[in-house]
Symmetry: C2
Subunit: 183 residues, 2 copies
């Protein structure tokens, strides 16, 4: 962040009066440009005893499998965003059920909110960001080909809870893996 998007002048990174941390601030027009975490909303689409996964066609993690999820847009509710992402990535018609898990991913300033969802029909097919969309039974989940740690965590927690038949709302943190772990 170099220039003020209000007046176009150069920004300084400094602690504004009354604040306790540095912000990008414009000395010319006075605007302060706050940066805050972004919400990612997604769902676990359930169909009979299976769930829907998407194989990514784009980076990062192209070719790997994920749950439909993406950035929450201005003007939409978290549930509407989760349903939209399921449609965009998999043309999946879902009914969003309860919120299931929230994950803090502090090192990239993201908060994931994942819902359980009912997949309403089999009319799914790959959306723009997917090359394949498929229903998986638990035993067939491609655990070594899951795109993101947060998705792996969501699925692991989900199948654990499904055994108990209880889905309490869960909060977790995704920590940056050490180098030797990501190798």
């Amino acid at each position: 962040m170099n220039y003020c998007n209000n007046c176009g002048n150069s920004l300084k990174y400094r602690i504004p009066p009354g604040d306790d941390r540095p912000r990008f601030a414009c000395d010319y027009c006075g605007a302060i440009h706050y940066q805050n975490p972004v919400m990612v909303v997604g769902c676990i689409p359930e169909f009979e005893d299976k769930i829907l996964l998407c194989r990514r066609s784009i980076e990062p993690c192209a070719d790997k499998w994920t749950l439909p999820a993406g950035y929450l847009e201005n003007g939409e509710t978290v549930s509407a965003g989760a349903a939209r992402e399921a449609y965009e990535e998999a043309y999946a018609n879902v009914e969003i059920l309860k919120p299931y898990a929230l994950y803090n991913i502090c090192y990239v300033n993201q908060v994931y909110l994942m819902f359980r969802a009912r997949l309403l029909d089999r009319k799914f097919k790959p959306g723009n960001e997917s090359k394949e969309v498929r229903l998986f039974a638990e035993q067939k989940i491609p655990w070594d080909q899951i795109a993101f740690t947060v998705i792996e965590e969501t699925l692991t927690q989900y199948f654990k809870d499904r055994k108990d038949g209880l889905f309490p709302f869960y909060i977790g943190d995704i920590l940056l893996k050490k180098k030797f772990e990501t190798a």
Copy 2:
């Protein structure tokens, strides 16, 4: 948003290739400036049968009572943010308990996440944004002096659930009040 904060050139509001909605985009450096909802995190600090409210010293809603809450900062978890806000607004030492309610406030692009919390001691006092901080029993809540609809909703739901002794995670929408209601 007028100028690119990357290169300082003028922005256009247009639909980028492959996207489905207009964004502020820079034709000079190619940057696209997404705008997304912001998370507000807060808590209901409980002390015996009372809860802690803060009387605001700043606009909007100066002089009205609120629960401690504020914007989630980069690099912090939702729970850490809720605890930080309790300390900033009321010097309240809290232990964040479970997430209690999420509210979509689409017309201002905010998502509120409210937690239940245990107030650990009576060493609270007004922070910078508060002129008074006080414990309230349910019968003494100043219902006609609550700062924001989302706080009123949170408190209403909370006292209802407290009667049942159950606090399921709740999702709600705060809708823009019609003019005659806000009068």
